[in-house]
Amino acid sequence: MEYFLIIISAIFVNNIVLAQFLGICPFIGVSNKLSTASGMSMAVCFVITLATLVTWLINQYLLVPFQLEFLQTIAFILVIAALVQMVEIVLKKVSPALYQALGIFLPLITTNCAVLGVAMTVVTKEFTFGGEAHLLNLGESLVYAFATSLGYGLAMVIFAGIREHLALNDVPKAFKGVPIALVSVGILAMAFMGFSGMVK
């Protein structure tokens, strides 16, 4: 039940883009076409889950025992940067097809604040799923990370669909490009506000 709550909360109620404002730059940047949007969401999903696993372990077994929590920011960003590089190299060797599909998006992910954001959230924020406030354990963190990235993908794909239609419309000059996109996201976020209160 608790895992179910985490999943619903991460995908719909606290959607990472539409409610938490993380990962907006790639969200606006690569959502012009449905195909690139889904490629990017897959890459993000992969990296967020993997990065959360590694950073959670590093925090729990390296930073906390030695009381080095103030190094979280530096340690995590380095781990994420290294991880993205490594994923790129491994994928190239092991699964060239997947590498082809994700290829161009991988280097962009280092500076996607969604990755660092999720990694920081799971080790610092106390959640109240199923009773008392507590920090998430490893299993919960992984489920949270995976569900959050699914929510990212959901928002991305919906928005790419909207933008494909927007591109065909006659938009006033000052609104062209990003401004009209932001207004559309605003309306999309309003729709997602309907989920708020479903899970505390």
């Binding site: 409610a19 907006i24 920011t73 500076t111 660092l116 000052a174 609104f175 976020a189 997602f192």
Partner: protein, 196 residues
Amino acid sequence: MSKFGKLITDGLVKNNPTFVLLLGMCPTLATTTSAINGLSMGLATLFVLVLSNMAISAIAPVVPDKVHIPVYIVVIATFVTLLQLLMQAYTPAMYETLGLFIPLIVVNCIVLGRAEAFANKHGVLESACDGLGVGIGFTCALTVLGLVREILGSGSVFGWNFIGGNDGMLAFVMAPGAFLCLGYLMVLFNKFLKKD
């Protein structure tokens, strides 16, 4: 002197990070629930931007090209950690409010962007001015956005309530209002300030 002055004013309008370059959107949208929050976030970013620009311009000649991005990220992360510790000590309430978005300055593309585009090719003093200009531009944008959202959302200006009671349009303080307000402010900016 005019050269440094120009560097600072360029960051305000011509290279405005929010309205023209569209960088650093996450903190822009997330922390501008009120004018004072927007202002604080802007100043926090300004602090990191000026210091990291100066440090990076100073070390750029000796950093090997292959590892320059990781090195820059570590430099930026160091200043962000410094900022985190300072804010925890002196403004704990604001640190709580801005929360996650203080450590996330590390991945704010404005900071790394200025390091790549400006600081590694210019002197320390020029880079400091560039950081100051872009930082002020960012702070202004955040404060304006925060002000608009605060007026519409909670009917107050810098915490001073002018309608009495909590009768603002709540949606503007929440997520949708952030996107809508930024979108419309960008339209106004395009219409009246941007010259192409």
